[in-house]
Symmetry: C2
């Protein structure tokens, strides 16, 4: 039941942006602060949603608009469409989340063939005449385009024609008479395209304009924008109906934008642009050059001072950088919009830290105002653009980073060149799953089609690979091995540079600079760089406030050491399978081909000292901190050649009359071990239960390594983690074997035995499993794969982009935890296992451990730690702090 | 906290079998019925479990035994070990579930070198001497074997030696002196093997015997038996200490077994065997021939009459067939044991129906007394064994049915011969995953090793294929293509017959007879066969009582018609993918290879009329009943040749300088569509959302078929089911498209649109999905695969037998629903979706729909229907009725 569909500005406030949109809520806030805001009212998003769902406005709406319009007319002392002294209004969209330029606005609503004369008279003099006809032609133009889909060019051509006729440079050179003629022409254009005359009933103009703003929510560009920005598609927009004020009433009028501090650097001061004798759209159109606010001070000291006072009020009130749109009408300042201003990632940290110094906000608040995504941006290398070079093209920054390499057009060629040690950039019109090998081989991907949800973008983000999409000026010709852009031709082998953050493409090799923030993490030295100082300060505070510990996923001593420098408090996941690759592959083959217990044990015995050495390095690098080692997880045939390769090799050898030799034996083994769905096959704990001695060898290596590191005076904290457990009996069986081994090795330090929770059934029976486990670690990758029933490798390239386009996902569930489904499994497991074993240590070691949204979720459900890649550790630290502050700070974990 | 560890027989009753074991509970029941039971007491399973868990008896136990022993001595007027007139007791195991012969019993406890004389005196005369020494040597023999692990052969050799010395045929020919000598020999044997003298303290004998019975719970054979019979391993056994009565006191004594009616046919009358002058173990040992109970009437009319009265009392009390063990001691009848008797599947139905006729039980009770497993047994073909032929061997009946075929020893050979149209039986020592193709190609599998949980057994049961395991007399020589058994040699190509129910193996071709029960289902004719009459009666009553509807999974009109004859109330799952095979495969290839929208649409247009025809047949066969059609589910590359085959074909063609032609294009497509884990890839609803027009074509075919069948005067009830939905948005998108198509086709009858719930996330978000679905059908196969994270095809052969051996599964979760994990997903989905949409129709169409245990679960959680293979429909009907009766009958569904 919809309660109230229209709010006067005096009735709202900034917290009602769900209902009133960002613009409406802030207009209300400013009104209540006593700032000079033109009076008006806001039609709620509720009304819009009813309209969008049912195709017609809620029946109560018309009467509510009547009532508020009457009040507005009373306040202004004018009536809409009054021939003598008309009230004009603007009709502006305003959604909850800013969607700049995506939706519609109609100005000057209320002008008709009659009232244009009244407006002229009220404005006064010859200037008044010109102003009135100019305002009228603008109304017909915007209304025609917005409400009746009249092509913009039709009006522009008519305007150009009028200027040509007058030999005018600018539309300012057109006089009142010219504009009066233009109005007549525009009305003809309108009638021809819209199939009706321009409406002369002001109330009809208003209603149609409101409806057009509602409709613009579903305009194609708005839909695309929301998808890219992950804004829900069902919010709808509010509509603001505001009394017009005019910046185009002469040289004592004008319009501008202002910032309360520099949105790029965060410096305090007066920043903004002003354009005299203009309406808002002129600033955007860039038809004349704007001036700085310092010049406004010269032009109109009184208005400038008012603006300064208003800015002070706003920063004091919002306690943050604000940006403002204003109009000066004959020396009187009006504020048309304000919001907390957008800023760069670096400025976000610097401003937040400054505001603390100024005593405006607390450190808690400062931490809340920066995000892990911003911190992550600051950790990518960037191009050193001290003097910004000429760009080759501009696309969409789809996956951040700075990549330099030779252009290639075919996946196979990318693989070939990369194999020869070259850095390559794969350039395609768009990519498809066939291009995967090329994407993997390349430093970066550049496409001429598709946006942030295209195949290339999704896959590249998944791999952390730099990607620029939708550089639509590129004409890519794969056959000829060239692309052209604005007359420049780039051929295969030419070097280009692409910036995955800004979407910019440069010719040649641009110098890449490392991130100052990463340098700080690596060295621990803060120095006097304002950004590094701010990052250090806020991250340190986040560390103080967070209750989630942050560990890293690391398989080598080098990764472990780096993770420790980045702030990791242990290893949450050491994958042991990489330790079976390289020169050890042959031992694994022997293990697999073993026909007898003796042969198998020989292979295991040979692996034991190698594994022990691996673990010694890890325990040393992480001395004093926990190291969670996962027993071998993937199917063994991953260590063998592929069935396809072997089949062809054996068939060809036989065809040539040669002896396939060992290949034949390997092929038999690979065939025997072939699984249709290896992810759902013989792996993890199942391997350990089927292959005698495999897990025991690993546990022994862990125990011996920990014992020797301990004897060397370090302090190892081993944790043995069993993968893929679905039933407590599996864990019990492995645990019994592991305890025996731990018991046999002298000087083994206290070693926890726990399990991954990555199979849905494990989450559903967590209360049983908790009876045998000393810790849980959620494997959110597998939990997502099995919970949704899709394999990441197979589906990200095949249907994820389609799913993102259809809005089935707002974001890939591999990137950010799916709260409703996978998250629910986690909630069930945490609450039911803790009910059985309150001291159970619970963490997460999937890639979600480094994702900001997911970190908040893990904090909310009460995990003890998250574990993520070393590079994401600072992001997780920051977001864990933010999550703790948001939920009211520390608890007893 | 353990309350009470020992119960006097007078303190128990038949419902305490958890605590007292089946034997103890029934002894108590008989005692309280006033029947002649020797006095005694039962030590509880609680006491046993404490002993098994901790390795020592609960501290209170000794005192409780003292107390009850004292009371028993009072009742009997004798004391344990009294030299003049000793009380002797038997110490018998007795678990909750009958485990015949698996655990231990010790008789005659209380005899010592002294009290043997007292016993002789009490028994009287020369017969008394002989009786006492015979009893003593039996005690030493059983006690030695059971308590001290003295090898049985050691005693047997000594006995044989004594008989040889006396030139005796039977041990009855040994006189008191001989037996006295034998006791001395036995005591030597005992001391030599046990490392101690035979205990002369009766109370020590008793304690050790009790402990030995406890230990026998974990004897190897008992563990194996429990695993095969799916008896939980943690129940423990009770121990019954009973005053001895003696059937070996002369010709006026004896021992026997009796049934209150014929356990094979169910006929009423007097059935049983009697052996004069013997103890229980002599009957089992078969050393002398037993006589029928009619002869007992001649020998000892009084005892016979007592037995008849006792049997009448028992049947009246238990209201079922009882079997009884009894002993007559010098003309006085003693009952040593009773239980509700085991019976064949056919007898179960016949007896239950008879008891209704006799007014003993209600029809509800009769339905509860038969099981779906029994009904399923009655539906397999059997060998016609009117004159039972000579057997070749005896194994374990691991998967029921009667299979005849030529012997083969290699998987490849089985495939080859089956391909040539031969019926084959695969014979192996044991099978492994390499044998899968051969198992699939064979009529039956015979192995010489392994039991009901071996690889062969698990795989064969999964496929419904006849299997006999562990025929250990077979000497299988794969290399020479022969097996020998008892001197007979069977070579490859020879015909044998195997019975998967009884485990029997016959030479040559045995005549197979179809099941009379199936004939009744097929024809609907009851006739006068007692079994068919009983099945008809009980199944009809189950139909009356059940609230679950039963549908069938059927893809063809023939299957649908058969299912209808078997009682199906609709089709719960029609898989459309088989409709894309055969001659249509080429169209599917064209669909997959289509480069343009036009080519794709051409392929779809060609498929449309074929699909329409498929559906017309189904709607006609199921007129008036619902037909649920699942839109195409499997990955499209399943319709293409395998990557391995194509790679080899293309490589060989190129090697030979030939043009691979279309194969090259196919290979590219197969490579592009190759998925590491196709089960978790592009299939189900994902296909429908990615391939434009595919689902629309299917929905159009359904609508047009339903319309044309409707116009022909039939009454089609189509239900469109979307597979693999994980998020409500997927269903909404498909539903919108489907509704458009349904709207476009004239005369479409009302058509429901619903979804499978087979992805864990679908169950977890069922409340959301219910908003878009008109019905749910649980796909418990996929739900099990994804919930556990294993793929049935990959794992049943690779680690399931190991998991069953380790006790991780008690039964495969693909066979019977995993209540804790998968079942919990179902419970969540049902309760949360019904909260949103109380009228949501919910069923299940996985193979669990025909599994008895699972049907009970589906009834309990409140589903509307189960759907299973046509052959399982009667089983599901019966079990649904039983489930309804057990939970108190019909509710409002």
């Amino acid at each position: 039941m919809v309660e109230k569909l229209v709010y006067d500005f005096a009735e709202g406030n900034k917290d009602l942006n769900d209902l009133l949109g960002g613009k409406g809520a802030n207009l209300a806030e400013m009104t209540n602060l006593g700032l000079p805001v033109p009076p008006g009212f806001t039609i709620t998003t509720d009304a819009c949603r009813v309209y969008l769902d049912t195709g017609s406005q809620p029946p109560e709406l018309a009467a509510e608009i009547d009532e508020h319009l009457l009040k507005l007319e009373g306040t202004m002392g004018r009536q809409l469409g009054d021939p003598a002294d008309p009230l004009l209004v603007s009709v502006r969209s305003g959604a909850k989340f800013s969607m700049p330029g995506m939706m519609e606005t109609v100005l000057n609503v209320g002008l008709t063939d009659e009232s244009v004369h009244g407006l002229a008279a009220q404005a006064g003099g010859d200037g008044g005449e010109r102003f009135a006809w100019d305002s009228y032609r603008r109304l017909i133009q915007m209304f025609g385009r917005t409400v009746c889909d009249v092509p913009a060019e039709a009006f522009e051509e008519a305007l150009d024609e009028a200027k040509r006729a007058k030999n005018a440079e600018s539309d300012l050179d057109l006089d009142a008479g010219d504009l009066r003629g233009l109005v007549a022409t525009f009305k003809d254009v309108f009638a021809r395209h819209a199939g009706r005359d321009f409406p002369q009933e002001p109330r009809e103009q208003l209603d149609l304009a409101i409806r057009a703003v509602f409709d613009s929510w579903n305009a194609e560009r708005a839909v695309l924008y929301r998808r890219q920005e992950r804004i829900p598609s069902d919010l709808g927009t509010a509509v603001n109906v505001v009394a017009m004020v005019f910046g185009n009433l002469g040289s004592d009028s004008g319009t501008g934008v202002a910032f309360t501090r520099d949105p790029a650097s965060g410096r305090q001061g007066v920043y903004g642009d002003y354009l005299a004798n203009a309406q808002g759209e002129d600033v955007v159109a860039g038809i004349r050059n704007t001036v700085s606010l310092d010049e406004l001070e010269q032009l109109d000291k009184a208005s400038f001072d008012s603006l300064m006072r208003a800015m002070e009020t706003l920063e004091g009130h919002y306690r943050d950088l604000c940006d403002i749109e204003f109009t000066i009408e004959r020396g009187k300042l009006w504020l048309l919009q304000t919001r907390v201003g957008k800023r760069t990632a670096a400025a976000a940290f610097i401003i937040a830290s400054q505001l603390v110094d100024e005593g405006v906000i607390s450190l808690d608040e400062a931490v809340r105002r920066v995000t892990g995504d911003q911190l992550a941006q600051l950790m990518f290398p960037t191009f050193d653009l001290s003097d910004e070079p000429e760009r080759l093209a501009q696309g969409i920054g789809a996956s951040p980073g700075a990549a330099v390499g030779k252009v290639v057009f075919a996946s196979a060629r990318a693989v070939e060149l990369a194999g020869a040690g070259e850095r390559v950039i794969l350039v395609r019109r768009e990519t498809n799953p066939d291009d995967l090998p090329g994407i993997i081989a390349s430093r970066g991907i550049l496409t001429s089609r598709g946006g942030k949800t295209s195949h290339a973008a999704v896959v590249a983000r998944g791999m952390g690979k730099t990607c620029v999409c939708g550089a639509d000026a590129l004409d890519v010709n794969v056959a000829s091995g060239q692309f052209t852009v604005d007359g420049t031709t780039v051929s295969e082998g030419d070097v280009i540079s692409i910036d995955g953050t800004t979407g910019r493409v440069y010719p040649g090799e641009m110098p890449v600079q490392d991130s100052a923030v990463v340098r700080y993490f690596e060295t621990g030295e803060v120095g006097d760089d304002a950004l590094v100082v701010a990052v250090h300060r806020l991250l340190s505070h986040a560390d103080e406030r967070r209750v989630l510990k942050v560990r890293a996923n690391a398989d080598t001593p080098e990764d472990a050491a780096r993770a420790r420098r980045f702030g990791a408090q242990g290893i949450g996941l050491c994958r042991t399978e990489h330790m079976f690759l390289g020169e050890r592959r042959e031992l694994v083959e022997s293990l697999i081909l073993a026909d007898t217990d003796t042969d198998r044990q020989l292979a295991l015995d040979a692996l034991l000292p190698l594994q022990r050495k691996d673990f010694e390095g890890l325990f040393t690098a992480m001395a004093g901190l926990p190291v969670t080692i996962r027993l071998i997880d993937p199917p063994l045939h991953e260590f063998l050649p592929s069935l396809e390769d072997l089949s062809v090799r054996v068939a060809l050898a036989e065809e040539r009359g040669e002896d396939p030799g060992r290949d034949r034996r390997l092929l038999a083994a690979v065939r025997r071990m072939h699984e249709e769905n290896p992810m759902l096959g013989l792996r993890g704990v199942r391997l350990g239960l089927v292959i005698p001695g495999l897990f025991a060898m690993q546990v022994r290596a862990i125990a011996e390594a920990a014992a020797s590191v301990g004897l060397a005076g370090e302090d190892p904290h081993p944790e043995v983690m069993v993968p893929l457990v679905g039933a407590v009996q599996e864990l019990e069986t492995v645990k019994a074997e592991a305890l025996t081994v731990l018991d046999e090795v002298d000087n083994t330090p206290h070693t926890l035995i726990g399990t991954m929770i990555e199979v849905p059934r494990a989450a559903l029976t967590a209360a049983q499993i908790a009876q045998a486990a000393e810790f849980f670690s959620f494997g959110t990758n597998d939990l997502t794969q099995m919970g949704w029933g899709f394999s990441r490798d197979d589906v990200e390239g095949s249907f994820f982009s389609r799913y993102l386009d259809l809005g089935i996902f707002r974001v890939s569930p591999f990137e950010s935890i799916d709260r409703d489904g996978v998250g629910r499994l986690i909630t069930i497991a945490v609450s039911e296992s803790r009910a059985i074993r309150p001291d159970l240590k619970i963490g997460v070691c999937g890639e979600h451990g480094g994702d900001p949204d997911s970190v908040h979720f893990f904090h909310e459900v009460g995990l003890d730690y998250v574990s993520c890649s070393p590079f994401r550790v600072p992001v997780a630290r920051l977001e864990a702090g933010r999550a703790a502050i948001e939920t009211g700070g520390s608890d007893s974990r």
